[in-house]
């Protein structure tokens, strides 16, 4: 099931565009497509997700075909193709984290937020998902929160409660 959510009348801000401009200077002339991943990260940081309309605009900026953006945005797991909660808790679910209780942490988050993996809470503040190895196995279990991908290590149910409370107050 693929439902496309629209993001009408999207216009990139001039500060966003100037960041794009800096990114493409990092590559040889004519190879500006290499800026696609860093630019998609900026777009997601700005809007919380990467909409088809935003992808079309990125394609126009980089002078590539829209399909070249779609195929990349759908390949990499970091890009959200539909709106998420304001805070997305991404919990590592791979082997080493599971050896020290990551599955319990995910169950606890599901219970605390009251939404299933990938769903958004009614107030629009939170969503969560399990992600594959975040390369922090010695500090397991771990979770991260975009867009700056702040890291939370050695998680316990108590520390997760604390974190969620802090985030609720932050908004």
């Amino acid at each position: 099931m693929l439902s496309v959510t629209e993001q009408k009348d999207i216009e990139f801000s001039s500060s966003l565009i100037s960041q794009f401009d800096e990114i493409v200077t990092r590559y040889p002339a004519g190879k500006q497509k290499a800026g696609l991943l860093p630019i998609l990260h900026l777009v997601q940081a700005e809007y919380g997700w990467v909409s088809p309309e935003a992808m079309d605009k990125v394609a126009a900026y980089l002078e590539i075909k829209p399909i070249e953006v779609y195929e990349v945005a759908t390949f990499y797991t970091m890009f959200f193709l539909r709106p998420q909660g304001k805070f997305v808790l991404e919990v590592c679910r791979t082997g080493p984290c599971c050896l020290v209780g990551a599955e319990k942490i995910m169950d606890h988050i599901e219970k605390t937020l009251g939404v299933k993996e990938g769903e958004v809470t009614a107030d629009g503040k939170f969503s969560w998902r399990g992600v594959e190895c975040l390369a922090a196995c010695g500090m397991a279990p771990v979770l991260q929160i975009g867009p700056e991908y702040t890291f939370y290590e050695n998680l316990t149910e108590q520390s997760v409660d604390q974190l969620i409370n802090d985030l609720k107050n932050k908004i």
């Binding site: 040889p28 991943l37 990349v72 791979t94 082997g95 050896l99 010695g138 991908y149």
Partner: protein, 473 residues
């Protein structure tokens, strides 16, 4: 063989006595402010740039790295100097050095550690290595999730540029170098060098068919070298002290120090810099390293080099099948081949205590590889999915006895039949888990209800060492 091993034991014991003096990468990791250029320089930082650019020719640097015996620290263990010497140098074409900081191998987190706490070690290594290879633009490809590390590196690069170590006419030598950080998008496959190159070009991370190798045709069809973070950082002490000094550390063809990421059920998980050749037993149990198994439990199994390498039961982790002490080196860990050995890989050392379920962990790893398969090659795309499904039903009490051989069969048909090594990496954990823990898989079939409630415990191979013929079945 045995004699050589006794000798190696002696050497490693002697090396233990002087270990504290041997930290090459992490020596100053606890110094406050070592992430800044000033403090880093106060502790000898950027000496290698001065030495290399002012007193050495690029070829001499490559020779020095060859002499050091340094092997790729990302997992493959290919000699770095040799890889560098393969780089084509056609007239009028740019050459590129790309640092692989897409650390995603489950169990591995050393590069994150290095980049977080001592980023200038990587920048310094990049400058010297780029000069050696004749690159005028270099990239550090960092996995996108490591946004904090990307910020750290960008700040370090700006500092280095301000101090004249990057940019035009570095230290007045006429050498120009620009260094950029490139974020990935969250894909394990981009740790494979040709997938990384594709990704750097702004495409999907589909590995390329080799040949041509990146040394001939890499980024934008230009000659390219891709090296792991730790490999690049190791170039710094090699240039400072000479390749010969570096080669004195370690054992046999495993020269130098290695960062080991220790995780799982250990008292002190974390990143440790070891002289290659430390006994596995010492690494797990000594207080200098992991301090033993957590909660007073017993060791059940070890994955010594990241999730891709074969899992070994406790007894074979500590001793080879010939009864010799197993060492943390490329050769010793692979002693016995896949029948009774494993690999050093990326140094992602995962310890399992007696309560861990091997079937569940194997299913977890299989799901990981299924999720991360790029989908280009059918054996990997389909096979990883089949393995995940079959392992899932074994773990959740719906397995059949024939499933166990089915898994072996699928794993065998993936291995060696794919463009890149992800297929092998997916097949090995499954094949090795069944090789060493078949009784546990069978128990899941015969006791499905019980298997949901409790763990199997220690496998029959835990103690004592199996006989040679049992292993080679």
């Amino acid at each position: 063989m045995r004699k050589e091993n006794n000798l190696s034991h002696l050497i490693s014991h002697i090396s233990n006595l002087v270990k504290m003096a041997r930290k090459l990468l992490l020596e100053h990791i606890n110094v406050p402010g070592i992430n800044t250029l000033d403090v880093y320089r106060q502790h000898g930082g950027y000496r290698s740039v001065e030495k290399a650019l002012k007193t050495m020719s690029p070829d001499a640097i490559v020779e020095e790295v060859k002499t050091s015996g340094l092997r790729g620290r990302g997992g493959a263990g290919f000699p770095t100097g040799m890889k560098w010497s393969f780089l084509a140098k056609p007239e009028g074409k740019e050459r590129y050095l790309v640092c692989n900081a897409d650390e995603s191998e489950p169990g591995t987190f050393k590069d994150r550690y290095l980049m977080t706490y001592i980023p200038h070690a990587l920048i310094e290594g990049m400058i010297v290595s780029s000069f050696a290879l004749g690159a005028r633009t270099s990239y550090i490809y960092v996995r996108g999730e490591m946004m904090p590390q990307i910020r750290i590196l960008e700040k370090a690069i700006a500092e280095a540029k301000n101090a004249g170590f990057l940019g035009k006419n570095i230290l007045g030598t006429g050498y120009d170098l620009e260094l950029y950080v490139q974020p990935g998008g969250g894909a394990y496959i981009c740790g494979e060098e040709t997938a990384l190159i594709e990704s750097l070009e702004g495409k999907r991370g589909n590995p390329r068919i080799k040949p041509p190798f990146p040394a001939i045709s890499g980024v934008w069809a230009c000659p390219t070298v891709v090296n792991n973070v730790e490999t690049i950082a190791a170039v710094v002490p090699i240039i400072n002290d000479g390749g010969e000094e570096y080669a004195k550390i370690g054992i046999g063809r495993s020269t130098g120090t290695k960062l080991i990421s220790a995780s799982g059920n250990l008292n002190k998980p974390g990143v440790y810099e070891i002289d290659l050749g430390v006994p596995v037993e010492e690494f797990i149990y000594s207080d200098e390293y992991c301090g033993g198994i957590a909660n007073g439990k017993r060791l059940k199994a070890v994955v010594a080099g990241g999730s891709s390498v074969p899992i070994l039961p406790a007894n074979l982790s500590l001793k080879t099948v010939n009864g010799e002490s197993r060492l943390m080196s490329y050769e010793s860990l692979s002693d016995g081949g896949f029948q009774s050995g494993s690999m050093l890989g990326s140094g992602g050392f995962i310890a399992f205590d007696e309560d861990q379920c091997i079937v569940r962990n194997t299913w977890n790893f299989a799901r990981f590889y299924h999720h991360e398969s790029c989908g280009q090659c059918s054996p990997c795309r389909e096979g990883t999915g089949w393995m995940e499904k079959v392992l899932h039903r074994l773990e959740y009490g719906h397995g059949k006895m024939s499933d166990i051989d089915l898994l072996v069969d699928v794993a065998r048909k993936i291995e060696g039949n794919t463009i890149c090594p992800l297929g092998d990496a997916a097949a090995w954990p499954v094949a090795s888990a069944i090789r060493h823990f078949r009784d546990e898989f069978e128990w899941h079939v015969t006791n499905p209800k019980e298997a949901m409630d409790r763990n199997y415990g220690l496998a029959k191979y835990a103690d004592p060492l199996p006989k040679l013929e049992e292993v080679s079945q």
